[in-house]
């Protein structure tokens, strides 16, 4: 494989607000001139106000193992991340293209497997993957849509190019923060919204509901949609409750549902009521104890039978994980070519697959410069960041890679772009990424922007909330 492209920590990160020569970027101009006029104590007071409001409203995530009634805030930064319209248009078309290809891929895998027959992806990469669900083979789902909700993580490299870092096609979360961050910014700084033309995001729940209704089983005129949660102790519970409320649908737990005659019902105070679409926020493994993990208390016994008979839609479909695995990620550009006959609008980050001998040799020789990720890892765990790691950590990964190379991929240490962020000593650049939410139903839609995550620790590249990351409001400017 070719020499590393992209960049590592030695290169200067792309600053979203300021150009290399120190001039402000045009799309930040109004914001920075507003910022200059703000007395420092006003901003400090607004930050405190935001914290108090988030606590009061309960926009929090539960921390496992802590006392009941104890949740943490995801830190919110009051400096927005701004995207000019032309950049967004390009991103949007790239994201739609990518998600269309991913859906086509999942459909293909569970039907004819043409992409495997064509020799583009080695069959064992897919069929031996733990996320591949043989139960789904030959099952038709409404509209052929599998990943109804996709969270695609986008980063910007030091050359200013957007790249896809990761596809999240199982139960991507974070959209509630996108919506609440916007609400908070409008509450704190209404004047900014009259000075800018900022594309609205508030209609996301409507679009989501419309999408979910559009993929109901055929013949259902007025489908009943529910949101399936693992319950109030799940870390993303706030988001589940929030979305169910915004869409006006029931928030159910596994115990509220049951299957009779291959149809799904919920238990209500007025007796059983039929359910047509389940927007599920629990993993495949927990969905049906009769098929997957038998010890799961979160799922619904018999659900998969109902699903296979076509009497219920599950979003995202069972088995989408086969397409968002890090060992499949390197093939997404090939999928775009194979299914759509197009060249990818947004590229991948260069990725070495350690099961390949020549990739492995290169990576082992450059461990201190690279990022190594576990194929099944998520949330920033199971990851080596070479430049920041100790010799012992590097050594440990070296041994693990040699023992089970197929479990790892490696990527260059990207100098993620930075955006000014409030730190202890005032504004300072911090690394950010972007997770837009791509909705697929009758059509593919994206509300402008997404969730910007920021690594609050100086120099840190890990934006995950479980690892000290925060969030920002994301503005797409209309011109």
């Amino acid at each position: 494989m070719s020499a590393p492209q992209g960049d590592h920590l030695t290169s200067t990160p792309y600053n979203e607000m300021t150009k290399v020569d120190g001039d402000g970027r045009a799309h930040y101009q109004r914001y920075t001139s507003w910022l200059k006029d703000q007395p420092p104590d006003r901003l400090a007071q607004k930050r405190a106000e935001a914290d108090a409001l988030f606590h009061r409203v309960g926009i929090t995530f539960a921390v496992y193992g802590q006392e009941e009634g104890t949740e943490r805030l995801i830190p919110f930064d009051i400096v927005p991340r701004v995207l000019p319209q032309e950049e967004w248009i390009r991103l949007e078309s790239g994201l739609k293209q990518r998600v269309r290809a991913l859906n086509a891929f999942i459909h293909d895998i569970y039907h004819d497997q043409q992409i495997l027959k064509a020799g583009i992806i080695p069959p064992e990469q897919v069929l031996c993957n733990s996320q591949y669900r043989p139960e789904m083979q030959g099952v038709d789902v409404p509209g052929g849509i599998y990943a109804h909700i996709a969270g695609i993580d986008i980063v910007r490299d030091s050359a200013g190019e957007f790249r896809v870092l990761e596809d999240n096609l199982r139960v991507p979360s974070g959209v509630s923060y996108m919506l609440e961050n916007r609400k908070m910014m409008m509450r704190l700084f209404p004047e900014l919204f009259s000075e800018h033309r900022i594309a609205p995001v508030e209609h996301y729940p409507d679009v989501l509901l419309e999408n979910l209704r559009s993929v109901a089983p055929t013949g259902v005129a007025d489908p009943t949609v529910v949101l399936l949660t693992a319950g109030a102790h799940n870390s993303a519970y706030f988001e589940h409750a929030f979305l169910a409320q915004q869409m006006g649908i029931e928030l159910v737990e596994g115990q509220d549902l049951f299957v009779r005659d291959e149809a799904v019902f919920m238990r209500t105070t007025q007796g059983p009521q039929r359910v047509d679409v389940i927007y599920r926020r629990i993993d495949d493994d927990f969905m049906d104890p009769l098929v997957f993990r038998p010890d799961s208390m979160l799922g619904v016994p018999g659900l998969l039978t109902a699903y296979r008979s076509g009497k219920i839609t599950i979003a995202n479909a069972i088995g989408t994980g086969v397409a968002d695995d890090k060992s499949i990620y390197p093939y997404v550009p090939d999928m775009i070519k194979f299914y759509l006959g197009q060249s990818p609008i947004i590229g991948n980050v260069h990725t070495w697959m350690l099961r390949k001998k020549e990739d492995q040799a290169y990576v082992l020789a450059h461990l201190s410069e690279l990022v190594v990720k576990e194929v099944h890892g998520a949330g920033g765990y199971g990851m080596l960041i070479g430049p920041a790691a100790t010799a012992a950590e590097i050594d440990m990964f070296r041994r693990q890679i040699i023992a089970t190379p197929e479990r790892y991929i490696a990527q260059p240490t990207l100098a993620l772009s930075t955006c000014p962020t409030f730190a202890d000593k005032g504004l300072a650049p911090r690394h950010i990424d972007l997770r837009p939410f791509v909705l697929s139903g009758r059509d593919v839609t994206i509300v402008p922007g997404g969730l910007t995550r920021v690594a609050l620790r100086e120099g840190s590249l890990v934006v995950n909330s479980s690892q000290g990351g925060g969030t920002k409001d994301t503005w797409v400017l209309e011109t």
């Binding site: 009061r56 409203v57 309960g58 009779r260």
Partner: protein
């Protein structure tokens, strides 16, 4: 609506009501503790109250003797005791959080803020002796606020009816237990020459927000007969047994389903019995027996409501 949602709403309001009832009890006894020469009456009243609320053994596991400050702390702030006001506020908030999508944001924020505030008050208390009177006053205010926000912002639909059923079942239970704790003051004993301690009256009436009401309704000296009548049979007294049963019955009628006929009938029967009875009849039965029967019917009703509406049947 989901049975589980109804269940959480019902318990959410029961716990808030319970926190308020406990706060009233602590408040009444706390006031008494500030008066001179009442320590014996106070200890006795605390003991019978804890017995009626089934708190005594848990208390005695932690403390050797019944001592007012320790009792107030135990009932109000004990984090480990599941029956304390603090634990009730936590349970109310956890139930609310489980169905926050079914609540108005005002109601959820009220319950959440109450819990966050209670937690920081209890945390502060470890370093300085906070005023218990102020704490229970605050709990009452938060309960009033919660009730106001419930009535003022929630749709008067099924969800609302289940919160009301929870509130009034809990209130009926609480009034009946407070009466039980004071039944010896209410029924002239064998020795009619023993005049009940007037402090005991004031505790009882204050604990049920009935002190001023009594004066207004009767314009008379306080007599056991009238106190009992006010708290059991007055339809316009918000904490009387009759009023609570009426509310439970009316709200149950609004949510009736295919299997609830017998439950609704029993609620109606309880209401009708209180509506058409006289104080003389109750005294003829004997107040202790009457209260015992009432509490047992209330338990039966609670269990029936749970099986008809709340706890889903194992097999459908």
């Amino acid at each position: 609506m989901l049975s589980r949602t109804a269940d959480h709403l019902y318990w959410m309001s029961r716990y808030i009501e319970r926190a308020e009832s406990l706060a009233r009890l602590v408040d009444a006894h706390y006031r008494m503790s500030l008066l001179p020469h009442s320590s014996e009456t106070l200890s006795q009243s605390l003991r019978s109250t804890m017995t009626a609320l089934h708190m005594e053994s848990e208390y005695l596991d932690r403390h050797k003797i019944i001592e007012p400050r320790a009792v107030f702390d135990f009932i109000s702030l004990d984090r480990e005791y599941s029956g304390s006001i603090f634990s009730c506020l936590r349970a109310a908030r956890e139930n609310a959080r489980a169905v926050r999508g079914s609540l108005t944001s005002e109601l959820w924020e009220t319950l959440n803020a109450t819990w966050l505030d209670a937690r920081s008050q209890v945390a502060r208390r470890s370093s300085q002796a906070a005023d218990i009177g102020q704490f229970v006053e605050w709990v009452k205010e938060r309960s009033h606020l919660t009730r106001g926000v419930t009535v003022g912002t929630m749709m008067h639909d099924e969800a609302f009816h289940f919160t009301r059923i929870g509130t009034f079942l809990e209130r009926a239970d609480s009034t009946a237990r407070i009466l039980t704790a004071h039944q010896s003051d209410l029924v002239p004993g064998a020795d009619a020459s023993v005049v009940p301690d007037p402090y005991a009256w004031s505790v009882l009436l204050r604990a049920l927000s009935a002190f001023e009401v009594y004066r207004r309704v009767y314009r008379d000296v306080i007599t056991p007969f009238k106190v009992a009548q006010l708290l059991i049979l007055r339809d316009d007294m918000p904490r009387s047994l009759l009023r609570c049963c009426k509310e439970v019955y009316n709200n149950l009628k609004s949510v009736a389903n295919q299997q609830s006929a017998e439950t609704v009938r029993r609620a109606g029967e309880m209401h009708a019995a209180l509506h058409f009875t006289r104080m003389e009849d109750i005294l003829a039965t004997g107040l202790p027996v009457f209260l015992e029967q009432f509490l047992s019917r209330l338990r039966d009703l609670g269990a029936r409501i749970a099986s008809d509406f709340l706890v889903p049947p194992a097999e459908v």
